[in-house]
């Protein structure tokens, strides 16, 4: 049974966590994620879930407690944003290398400094290379759906990795949105019970986890992590199909919006994809063949699939809501441009840094990007590879 409800992104994620009913949640509040754990802790207090809620003293401890619980055999979760994720940094790598299927929503917020509480993706991009799977959500519906699928993806025997479910701070987390939620039983049946391959509380089969690696082993264990990431792509698609059967909404590695015959395309994550799709529709009415590619999975990066999806496009703009300070563009730009290089067909790929620290992305901004692309397509000339959108300059 499906029910249409009005919830904020945070409420939708808390609702998903309630229906998943994890064994352990260890979390610390931080804007704009606070509501998730606040609402979830009320579910715990009211006996609506069986979860052991650990109110820890920091995000470093939150992930550490989740690691301990997950290694012991529990289905464990945490949640955070921005500085909290930064403080968690060290242990996120450990969760990934120990191959623990911890699911954690991250409500994307700019990293200090200057101190700021609003949306950008610098927090998640900081953990880009940590070995966790990163899912991105355009709206509350996707955040809810991603949370439920994340559990299955993380725990799949071929994967066994943490999954970070991202959504935009305030824009998605605090805005009321209409979405469809599943009933508790459907979610319960979909996520099932965690069947750990190895767990510390298995007295019959003692195991030692998180061991010290010298140079003889570290490299091989890193290679195993890469293999798990590779396998995750198929698993994510399979679980997306299975989820479609219970929800009517199918998820793949990315959404290709009007890309089939597109001349110009924008690649963008999270909520800004909604804005971009709206602008693409308007431009199509004016005869411009505009399309949008919205990665749902950023780690692992769906390279072959994105190359295939963009091969017919003449000019592509990658929009990054994070700065790398490499002076040659944002994090997603590097990956997308690298991906398209092998086509050897002279697709022009440019980059726009936008929305840092919660700067609004307006329809006119995206329209300007598409018009720039049209100009590049017509003239074959790129004046500036990396530009800033909505910056006073």
């Amino acid at each position: 049974m499906k029910t249409k409800v009005a919830l904020t992104g945070n409420e939708a994620v808390a609702q998903a966590m309630k229906q998943i009913n994890p064994d352990v949640v260890a979390a610390y509040p931080i804007t704009p994620q606070t509501e998730i754990v606040q609402i979830f802790s009320s579910f715990v207090a009211n006996g609506e879930v069986d979860t052991e809620f650990v109110a820890v003293e920091s995000e470093h401890s939150a992930m550490s407690a989740a690691i301990g619980a997950s290694a012991a055999g529990a289905r464990a979760m945490t949640a955070t944003s921005s500085q909290g994720l930064a403080l968690m940094f060290e242990v996120v790598y450990i969760a990934a290398s120990m191959r623990l299927p911890i699911v954690f929503p991250v409500v994307n917020r700019a990293l200090s400094g200057p101190i700021n509480i609003h949306c950008d993706h610098s927090d998640a991009m900081g953990l880009r290379d940590s070995g966790v799977i990163q899912l991105y959500s355009e709206n509350a519906q996707e955040a809810y759906d991603n949370m439920i699928q994340a559990v299955r993806i993380a725990e799949h025997p071929d994967v066994q990795l943490p999954v970070m479910v991202n959504m935009d701070g305030f824009i998605t987390s605090h805005a009321m949105d209409v979405l469809e939620v599943l009933d508790d039983e459907t979610v319960r049946n979909f996520v099932g019970t965690r069947v750990p391959l190895d767990y510390l509380l298995d007295a019959q089969n003692p195991v030692s986890m998180g061991n010290f690696d010298m140079y003889e082993f570290y490299f091989e264990h890193k290679r195993q992590q890469t293999e798990a990431m590779k396998k995750a792509k198929e698993v994510i698609k399979e679980i997306g199909k299975e989820y479609a059967k219970i929800s009517g909404r199918e998820y793949g590695l990315f959404e290709a919006y009007k890309l089939d015959d597109a001349d110009v395309a924008v690649v963008v994550l999270n909520s800004a994809a909604g804005t971009a799709k709206g602008v693409a529709d308007e431009l199509r009415a004016r005869g411009i063949k505009a399309g949008v590619l919205k990665p749902r999975v950023f780690r692992p990066f769906p390279q072959d699939e994105i190359r295939e999806a963009l091969k017919g496009v003449k000019a592509v703009a990658v929009m990054d809501r994070a700065e790398t300070f490499s002076t040659c563009g944002g994090p997603m730009f590097a990956d997308v441009r690298n991906t398209l290089y092998d086509l050897k067909n002279d697709i022009k790929v440019v980059n726009y840094i936008y929305g840092l620290g919660g700067r609004d992305l307006r329809l006119e901004d995206v329209e300007k990007v598409f018009m720039d692309l049209e100009n590049i397509r017509k003239t074959g000339r790129v004046d500036e590879t990396v530009k800033y959108l909505g910056l006073r300059e």
């Binding site: 195991v207 030692s208 490299f219 264990h221 290679r223 195993q224 293999e227």
Partner: protein, 117 residues
Amino acid sequence: MNFGSGTRTRVVKADMKWYELTKAGNIYEPGNANSYETGDWRSIRPVWIEDRCIHCLFCWRYCPDASVIAKDGKFEKFDYKHCKGCGICAKVCPRNAIDMISEDEIEKAKEANKDEN
């Protein structure tokens, strides 16, 4: 391939390929530190002086690496394959029956002997 499958491989060796090793380096066999030789970390070596030894076994008790081998309640030998040369045994010995000798000096002496032969 057992990678990620949780197969409880009992043997982990340094010449195994990445997909032959246990997932995440999990260890299913207790006491496998024995198969990892740490003796080549040593720069100074404990040498037993038999006539001073009263077999109190302080060295055996204090050794952080189980590298003092005792038999029938008596000191027998050092396990040089694992001894890292920390020198704790020499420090706690009440009879100064353990000397710490530089491995370099031992090497030099060996080389000198070779030349003579």
